[in-house]
């Protein structure tokens, strides 16, 4: 069962508290600090009195504990089965060569139990030895904040050379691709599948003064008419963005979605996918982008109609 107190934030917080108390008598301040860090906003109001009033009889008045060992709990069957399922995912090779997980348990799910049906088909080559090597080197460099020297080939810009300190790897489930985000003279993204050479950089990076600029996010405002279940479809579709929805009247809603400027074209075609049920109302330059595409389509239609008439 997933919804179990065994996995609860309170059990985890108390385990951390008791681990400290096994090492040395715990002060109230330490208890509060751990509870605040490990649990939720209001949890301290429950955890502290429950322990100090002796309702949870785990900590003595002097901050010691009757426990003899720092608390541990074995992995549950559910956790073992999930890990086993993960070990069957082809992407696991990016992280480990050897099998892991309990050999005696059945996986929670098998590859044939799931079907991601709208993922793009040109995902990264997770079985490619060079790709795996680069992935691991980058991961190590992120951990150590160590600069990298990278060469990559792009169809548009040819060969590029980057020297950057890697920050994180960004994975898109839709594209099934990883990108490296890092800082050199500015924030840069490099598609992992396009990297032809990746090594630790031995020299020193000279960063520009100040924080490298990150482009400001943009917001598009939409007016939605709730027909054909459009409201739910749109709110689900744009759910991964920072967004806000407001009802205008019975069936009309205003939705604002905040996105990264580099994704403007993608945002544009995603809005077009909703057809006449979603209309861009602001900003004007975004509205113009939609209008321009529609005008081009209308022109193509007249050509098509003209051909049919011939």
């Amino acid at each position: 069962m997933i919804f179990s107190e065994l996995y609860s934030a309170y059990y985890n917080a108390v385990a951390r508290i008791l681990r400290e108390a096994c090492a040395h008598p715990l002060s109230k301040a330490e208890l509060r600090k751990i509870a605040a860090r490990e649990a939720f906003g209001e949890s301290l109001l429950n955890i502290e009195p429950a322990i100090l009033d002796g309702r949870w009889q785990l900590l003595n008045a002097d901050g010691t504990t009757p426990l003899r060992h720092a608390p541990t709990m074995p992995m549950t069957l559910l956790q073992k089965r999930w890990l086993k399922a993960v070990s069957l995912d082809p992407r696991i090779r990016l992280f480990a060569d050897t099998d892991f997980g309990d050999p005696d348990v059945e996986p929670l799910f098998r590859p044939e139990d799931i079907d991601v049906f709208d993922r793009y088909s040109d995902g990264d080559p997770y079985g490619d030895e060079n790709y795996i090597r680069n992935f691991r080197l980058i991961l190590e460099a992120i951990r150590e904040r160590a600069p990298l020297e990278i060469e990559s080939v792009s169809p548009k810009r040819g060969t590029n050379r980057y020297i950057l300190t890697p920050e994180y790897l960004e994975y898109s489930e839709k594209d099934d691709k990883f990108r490296l985000a890092g800082y050199g003279f500015r924030q840069q993204f490099v598609n992992l599948a396009r990297i032809t050479r990746c090594e630790r950089y031995k020299g020193k990076i000279r960063y520009p003064d100040g924080v490298p600029g990150i482009p400001e996010k943009k917001t598009v405002e939409l007016e939605l008419t709730d027909e054909r279940n459009a409201l739910e479809r749109a709110l689900m579709h744009f759910a991964h963005f920072e967004k806000e929805a407001e009802r205008l009247d019975g069936r009309r809603y205003r939705i604002s979605v905040t996105y990264n400027p580099e994704d403007e074209t993608e945002m544009l075609i995603r809005i077009l996918a909703f057809g006449p049920l979603v209309r861009v109302t602001a900003p004007a330059d975004f509205t113009e982008l939609v209008r321009e595409r529609l005008a081009r389509q209308k022109k193509l239609e007249s050509i098509e109609n003209g051909k049919s008439a011939d």
Partner: protein, 414 residues
């Protein structure tokens, strides 16, 4: 009942979280299904768990509460927090830590009676020590045996208990990644809670997080598939605000990474065919009998898949699919459009019809499901044909409506 941060039942708070996260435009007075008190309590809980993401807006109708989460920025799914809020009794938590301390060594095996005696010794130092009788301890040990963390072994007439052997945890980077990308990722989040604090090296783009709230049902469906069982599901029909019970044989979880929805594809004996259920409408799953035709149903599904664009299932595997095709034109510097068709198509074929044009064609059970994708090529579509006249009319009518909406007037030439 006085407010308490933890909860016994997940269903109610899940409904509120869904409303706050997906919709977020309702005021307090519009939450009419339950009392105002219930709304206040659930809102306060969600605020305590997810305060960083909670936003408020004042409208004429009142204050609207909503959750605004940019999942590209938050490295871990914040909604997992809700799964870590199960309530428990004072006795539960006290006994939990003492039990695992007594059974710290995996070689230590004790009877419930012996454990009960030891427990008393742990509690003797407290002014009003709790008492745990043998049956309470036995019940808790059985619970833990079901979870796989305690082993039971019979020696003569007695049952001995000892801690289950642990299994090495996966590395934190594996957990960071798969807790966000694998089904039932919340379990990975539970495993992450066992690791030391660390910087997470991953961010996620196009990352839908709502399915996390339905993990329990999906987990039970996987269990049924593993054992090839029929299940009885409690399914909500949201538009009609009605609850129904459905018997089905779960065959596959079909996941969309473009719409944020997950579906169960299952054989429904009452209908005699395979149907799709949205997993966020499945409120509970009860396993039933083993289904002797499980493999046969799966083979039927396999035969259907090449003609499925989304989740609209045919009446039978023999239903003839509809035909659809469209041609797009692109310029010299827009050759990527052909690649787009290749990479984004889920079935069908793409062929070049000229230096700057490509045609997509497919035979699918429901051509209407393809329209949103086809619209993403607006400004390039030179030809569109569909064997389903309704789909074709909708495509053309929608285009005209869009022209009107953006001041390009009707479909006629100006």
């Amino acid at each position: 009942m006085a407010y308490y941060e933890l909860i016994k039942n997940f269903d109610r708070v899940r409904d509120y979280m869904r409303e706050f996260y997906l919709y977020g435009f309702k005021s307090r007075s519009e939450y009419t299904q339950r009392s105002a008190r219930s709304y206040d309590d659930e809102r306060r809980r969600v605020e305590s768990w997810l305060g960083d993401y909670m936003r408020f807006r004042q409208t004429r109708e009142g204050k609207n509460v909503f959750l605004s989460i940019d999942s590209r920025v938050s490295r871990h799914n914040p909604l997992y927090a809700a799964w870590k809020t199960k309530s428990f009794t004072d006795g539960d938590i006290t006994l939990h830590f003492i039990l695992f301390d007594i059974l710290h060594d995996p070689d230590t095996a004790m009877t419930a009676g012996e454990i009960s005696g030891e427990t008393d010794a742990y509690l003797a130092g407290f002014p009003e020590p709790k008492m745990f009788d043998e049956s309470t301890i036995r019940k808790k040990l059985k619970e833990y045996a079901d979870e796989g963390i305690i082993l039971r072994e019979r020696r003569g007439k007695s049952i001995y208990y000892r801690r289950a052997a642990d299994c090495p945890n996966a590395g934190s980077e594996i957990l960071d990644f798969f807790s966000e990308t694998a089904p039932c990722g919340v379990i990975g989040s539970f495993l992450l809670d066992k690791t030391e604090p660390h910087d997470d090296p991953f961010a996620f783009k196009h990352h839908y997080i709502t399915d996390a709230m339905y993990s329990e049902a999906v987990c039970a469906l996987f269990g049924a598939m593993e054992e090839k069982r029929t299940v009885t599901m409690r399914v909500i029909q949201r538009r009609k605000e009605r609850m129904t019970e459905r018997e089905a044989v779960p065959l596959r979880i079909r996941i969309s990474v473009q719409s944020g929805r997950q579906y169960l594809l299952a054989y429904v004996p009452r209908l005699g065919r395979i149907s799709a259920f949205r997993t966020d409408n499945i409120l509970s799953v009860k396993p039933g009998e083993v289904c002797g035709q499980f493999e046969e149903h799966r083979r039927t599904l396999e035969r259907m898949l090449p003609h499925l664009w989304g989740i609209s299932m045919p009446e039978s595997a023999d239903q003839p699919p509809e035909h659809i095709e469209f041609t797009v034109a692109y310029g010299e510097k827009e050759r990527h459009i052909h690649s787009r068709l290749e990479r984004e198509k889920r079935c069908g074929t793409v062929e070049r019809t000229g230096a700057g044009s490509s045609r997509f064609s497919a035979d699918v059970y429901d051509t209407a499901e393809m329209l949103p994708w086809i619209r993403t090529f607006i400004c390039r579509i030179t030809r569109f044909e569909c064997s389903n006249a309704e789909t074709e009319a909708r495509f053309r009518d929608d285009l005209r409506a869009m022209y009107r909406a953006y001041g390009l007037e009707g479909g006629e030439d100006e």
